[in-house]
Structures are given as structure tokens and as C-alpha cells.
Symmetry: C2
Subunit: 387 residues, 2 copies
């Protein structure tokens, strides 16, 4: 309960890419932060407001999540950067001992268009908390992320709908590049890694330009941004594969906010290393579980008569402890233990999927693994693994 970080970062992030799958572009790696090693490919649970909804850090350790994501935009508005300066960062604030990645707030500014203006300087918007006007610029985003003390910071980017016309896409990508350099210059704590974000919408030439520009600068990793914002699954897959192929092998690749299990299986096959998505926790709160045989809506009446675990193949605490009929009962009663148990299960599912994917890459059988998984979990929405 001290006011300072238990472990002050002393060394910058290191990334080592190891095994490469012979049948795809999938690869294994290790991302070393001052808060431990992260085996990649990795899924990062989303803890937007310094909490993964309904779960404690102990719950996240129990599912063995190595890193969580938080959001600069939301944390700027509440609780504000001051508390992070006071207590020594987000790890001390939320009592999370492992790594944290902070998104810069670019996507939130894009997705909440009311009362905001974006200029070359940055974004100006009205707080949904108290109505005050805030400025989020590349420099203030880094300043806030420095206060938050995340292990990996993201540059502020200008995110736009992937399907708008090419001129607008080009303008946003160019601005994203200028903002990325300002972010790099604003970086105050060398122990916090900084990732750039490749934009360029659905235009291959712009994606290539964006990747070429950004990879010329000393960023610690590269994200693929601007997907899952109005694009189709096929467009998203094509752009993921293409953009991943443009990024250096020596740095981690992070596909932002894209994340059904088929999306992940596909993108891993393209050589993507890092993922985040709200789906496992959001769907848990709606009563949907990811299982080894596909999605299960636990509120369906039939589950009330089933006294087996949610997923007999699953080793999470929910499946080891509770009956399907009990979880069904909790949801029918609107009891919050239901979403809590499904959140644990769904995060365990994602973490286990990544663990299985890593093992498959290690053994050189990732392409077959991804095909098998897709056949089981997503029969009605098949996606070829990039071979």
C-alpha cells in the first residue's frame, strides 16, 4: 500500500522472435518488460478504466493473463492523471503486478464524435464526466501515459472509418505519422516502450507508405490500427495479412481491437504477436461463453437442465467448480456472479487459445491447428488460415 511503484522500470522492453511456423507466417516470441516476460502470440484482456470489468487482479493471475490493456482517454477523464502521480502509476492503483499497455485515446476520440474537434495540434473535446474541455495531443497523451506508468504506450493516432475515400484516409495517415514523431519526441521515461500505429485504411499503397514511414523510426513495436471500424471480415483479413508482411521481424506486431477467436487464429497465421478485444468480457456480461465447440448462450432454457460443466474440456475455475444449470440460474436471476464466472471462463478461453497456438507454432503445426480450431468453433463462418 506504498505510494510508489514496487518495481520501478529500469530496462526498456526487449522482443525476441523465436520459432516460425513452416506452414504459415505464425511466429513465437518473448516480450520482456520490467514486469516479466510475455510469451507471444498474446491476448491482452481489456481493462479500460483500470479494471477488467468485475474481476480482481487475482482473477486475472488465475487465468494467467500476462498483460492487460487500459485506456488513456478514459483514465484522463476519470480518475485523472493526478492520482497516478500520487500513488506511483496504474500498477499501484489497480494492484496489478504484471504489464500494462495503454491505448492512446485515438480510437475513443474517433468513436465519440460529439463535441470534439480535431486539428493538427490534436483533439479538443468535452468530458462526459464533468463537461470540462480537454485537449488530447500527441504530447499530452504521452504525458498522461507517463503518469499512468504503463509498460507499453501507444502513439496518438487519427483513426477514421476504414471505408471513407482515399484522400481522407491519406490525410489521416499522414497526420498519424506526424503525431507519431511528436509522440516519440515527447517520450519522457525510456523504460516505457512506445508503439507506433500503422494506418492507411483499406488502401494497400497507403498501408505500405505508413509502414515504411513508421518503421524508419525507433519505435519499440508496431500496431495495425484502423481495422474493425466498418470493414468486412474479408477486408480486415486481407489488410491484416498485407500490413503484417510489411512490418520488421525484429519488433512485436499488435493488431488493435480485433478479436473473435477466428480473427485471432487468422492474424496469428499472418505473424501478428499481440491482440486485445473487449469481446470475451463484453459477451460474458451478455451471457455468451466461448467453448471448445463454439459459442454457448447460457440463458437458453436447455442449459437449466444440464448439470455438467460449461465446457468439459476447460480447466478454468468456473468449469472446474460450477454446473451449467447453476450458471444458467444466475443469469436468469440477473445475479452478477453469472457474468463474473463467464468472464473468467471467456478470458481463460482466450489465454488458453493463445497457449495452444504457441505450442502449435513451437511444434511447426500451426496451420493445421488453426484449421482444426476453426472447424470446431466457427463452422458457419469459416476463415482460411494464411498458409
Amino acid at each position: 500500500m506504498s505510494g510508489s511503484n514496487d518495481a520501478l522500470p529500469t530496462s526498456p522492453m526487449r522482443f525476441v522472435a523465436k520459432a516460425r511456423d513452416p506452414g504459415s507466417s505464425a511466429r513465437r516470441g518473448t516480450l520482456t518488460t520490467s514486469r516479466g516476460e510475455i510469451e507471444t502470440p498474446v491476448f491482452m484482456p481489456v481493462g479500460t478504466r483500470a479494471t477488467v470489468t468485475g474481476l480482481t487482479p487475482d482473477d486475472l493471475l488465475a487465468v494467467d493473463a500476462p498483460i492487460v490493456l487500459a485506456n488513456t482517454y478514459h483514465l484522463l477523464l476519470r480518475p485523472g492523471p493526478e492520482v497516478f502521480r500520487r500513488v506511483g502509476g496504474i500498477h499501484a492503483f489497480m494492484r496489478w503486478p504484471r504489464a500494462v499497455l495503454t491505448d492512446s485515446g485515438g480510437y475513443q476520440i474517433f468513436s465519440q464524435p460529439a463535441e470534439r474537434t480535431i486539428t493538427e495540434d490534436g483533439a479538443r473535446f468535452r468530458s462526459y464526466v464533468d463537461g470540462r474541455i480537454h485537449h488530447l495531443t500527441p504530447e499530452t497523451s504521452i504525458e498522461i501515459q507517463t503518469a499512468i506508468g504503463s509498460d507499453i504506450m501507444m502513439v496518438l493516432d487519427e483513426c477514421i472509418n476504414a471505408t471513407v475515400d482515399e484522400t481522407a484516409v491519406r490525410a489521416a495517415a499522414d497526420r498519424t505519422h506526424r503525431w507519431a514523431l511528436r509522440s516519440l519526441a515527447a517520450r519522457a521515461n525510456p523504460a516505457q516502450a512506445l508503439f507506433a500505429i500503422v494506418q492507411g485504411g483499406l488502401v494497400p499503397a497507403l498501408r505500405r507508405q505508413s509502414a515504411q514511414f513508421l518503421t524508419d523510426h525507433p519505435f519499440d513495436g508496431f500496431a495495425i490500427g484502423g481495422l474493425a471500424v466498418g470493414d468486412t471480415r474479408a477486408q480486415r483479413e486481407d489488410m491484416t495479412a498485407f500490413t503484417a508482411s510489411l512490418l520488421p521481424a525484429s519488433a512485436p506486431r499488435y493488431l488493435m481491437g480485433v478479436g473473435t477467436p477466428p480473427d485471432l487464429l487468422y492474424a496469428i497465421g499472418c505473424g501478428v504477436d499481440m491482440f486485445d478485444c473487449v469481446l470475451p468480457t463484453h459477451l460474458a456480461w451478455q451471457g455468451t461463453a466461448f467453448t471448445s465447440t463454439g459459442r454457448v448462450r447460457i440463458t437458453r432454457g436447455a442449459h437449466g437442465a444440464q448439470d455438467e460443466p460449461l465446457d468439459a474440456r476447460c480447466s478454468c475455475s468456473t468449469c472446474r467448480t460450477y454446473l451449467r444449470s447453476y450458471v444458467h440460474h444466475l443469469f436468469k436471476c440477473g445475479e452478477p456472479l453469472g457474468p463474473r464466472l463467464l468472464s473468467i471462463h471467456n478470458l481463460h478461453y482466450y489465454v488458453q487459445l493463445m497457449r495452444d497456438a504457441r505450442a502449435a507454432i513451437d511444434e511447426g503445426r500451426y496451420a493445421a491447428f488453426a484449421r482444426e480450431q476453426l472447424a470446431r468453433i466457427d463452422r458457419h463462418e469459416p476463415a482460411a488460415v494464411r498458409a
Copy 2:
């Protein structure tokens, strides 16, 4: 995950009253069920629908709750008794290894007057789940409680507003007595204890008659019912003290549904052994914490600037782990981890209050202990301990 109870009850409940406080009527006891010993005075967290809202059995074990309460009326409507027969009772259903007490449903029928009729046979009412008509009689209540497999069952009683006229109070008490005998006759599993409920409103003569009638029959314990239903605190205290004094020393005494900390401190001084109340969990969901210096509304702005534990004297996992500013932040964001952390804290507070009360009785200083506690926690609403 087996379909049968792990530990089938084989012996009836035993109660041994031990130390008696010299300065009050407070007493120490041990209630032995087939699921372990329960030290009294004891507080029972309320798990109406086979879940203490938001918490797992492990959370309840961590605060060392020895017994939880569930509700026959609500469990009849959802999930229905069949699932309990299938899986072998509520312990297997909710994965709770310790004792369970089931309330009979009398209070719920009283408090949900829409579309129900009460006759000598029992209550007839419409389900809020599916609109079906149900009959809850003394016999069906015991039948359902037998299926639920609780360690302590309650008789169906006719609960009325404590302040109605004496004729109505007398009629309800008389019917409660007839129903109590029918409940006793309907008991099928001798390993499940059965408690009677003393009624009689605020009329001492009726309370006396009720106690005399019921204590002539072989119930395993006696509850004080019909309080905290329209009465004032002074009326409730007088009636608790009076009724407790009428009950045999050899059986446990249970004050139903009454439960601020001052209420408990007072009633323990009257010789009450068992308590339940929704307050610690309900108030937790509203952002109110019980602390060693009184109630704290965590949503108040000042708490956002306080980086100490909620209660520095408290040893619960919430206070050992989290900052006040963090719990404040969770509530301001509407994040469900906030109520979860406060629920753990508040239940720990109640369990610890009972532990401290037991130690004070053991050491013959309960009257002074209760006075000290009341002075600290409830300065604006003092209540004399019965000396």
C-alpha cells in the same frame, strides 16, 4: 461435480450454550450441524437465490462465514425444486461446503401482496417468473426445503405488519402456530433441523403465548419473527429483549431479518444467537461501507483523494489490497468490481463484529464492549445495551 451430496447429513443439529456474560444476557454457544460447528452469536450472509450477490463460495470462505441463508419462496420460483433433487441439494448446486439455512417464504408472501391469497391451507400466488400459480403451504414449504437440503429449515409463518390491530396480530400468530405443527409433521429428513417462529407483533401477551405454545414442541430452535416490518427501533428492541427472555436456554435463538450493527449489538445483549440481514450486501451495492468508525459513503468526492485503505483497522482482502481512491474510482465508473470489493468488506465487518462479540462474552465484558462499539459506530443513533 457429482450428482449427489458430498456429505449426507447423518446427525441432527446440536446446540450447546456456553459462557454467559455477567453484565448482560449475551451468551456464547456452538451449533453443530453435519457441515461443521458454528460458533454463536453468528451472522448469516443472505444468499436469497443460492448466491450471495456477486460473491463466490470462496469469497464467503475467505471472510469465514460459517453459514448462509437462502430463500424457499425465490428458489421455488427459480430454479424450482427439481434441480435440487437432481444435483443433491443447494450445497452441490451453489458449491457451498458449509451450512445453509432456508427461510420458509412466509416473509416473501407477506411483502409481495400482489396476486396472492392466504387461507388456512396456505398461500396461493402467481409466479413473477412465468405467471404460473403456486401453492405454498406448511407442507409444500417443508417439501421444497427438503429438496433444497438446507441444514436448518424454517416453518412457514404468517407474517404481518407489526403495527396492525391486536385481533389481526392474534389471528396471524394462532395460524402460525397451527402451521408450525403441520411443518413439524411434514418433516421428512430428520437430519435437517427445523426452527419455529415466534410471532405476536408488538403485543407482549401475544409474544408470550406464542413462545409458550411453540416451545412445548420439539423444534430445534426458535426464531423471533415479525420485526423490522413497520416498527420503530425502540419497539423492535423492546420486543427482541422480551421475546428472547421467553425462549429456552437450551435452544438457539434467531432474530430474523434484523440487522444494523447496533441492532445486532443490542440483540446479542438480549441473548440472541443468530442473525441475518441483507444490509451488508445491499449497502455495498449502493457504495456504503461499514467501518470501525461508522458508515462510509465511498462515492463522496473526498475519497478520490485518499490513498489509504477503506478501514486501516480492517483485515479483509479489500482493505489489505486496495486504496480508498481506487474503490471510489470503481464506483464513480459504475464498475461492478466496486460493489464486489465492498460486499467482501461489509461481510467481513459483520463476521468480525460477531467474532469480537464472542470474545467479549468469553471474557465477561460484553456490556462494555457493546457500549464502546456503539459509541464508535453509531454516535448519532445510540442504543443502550441491555444490562
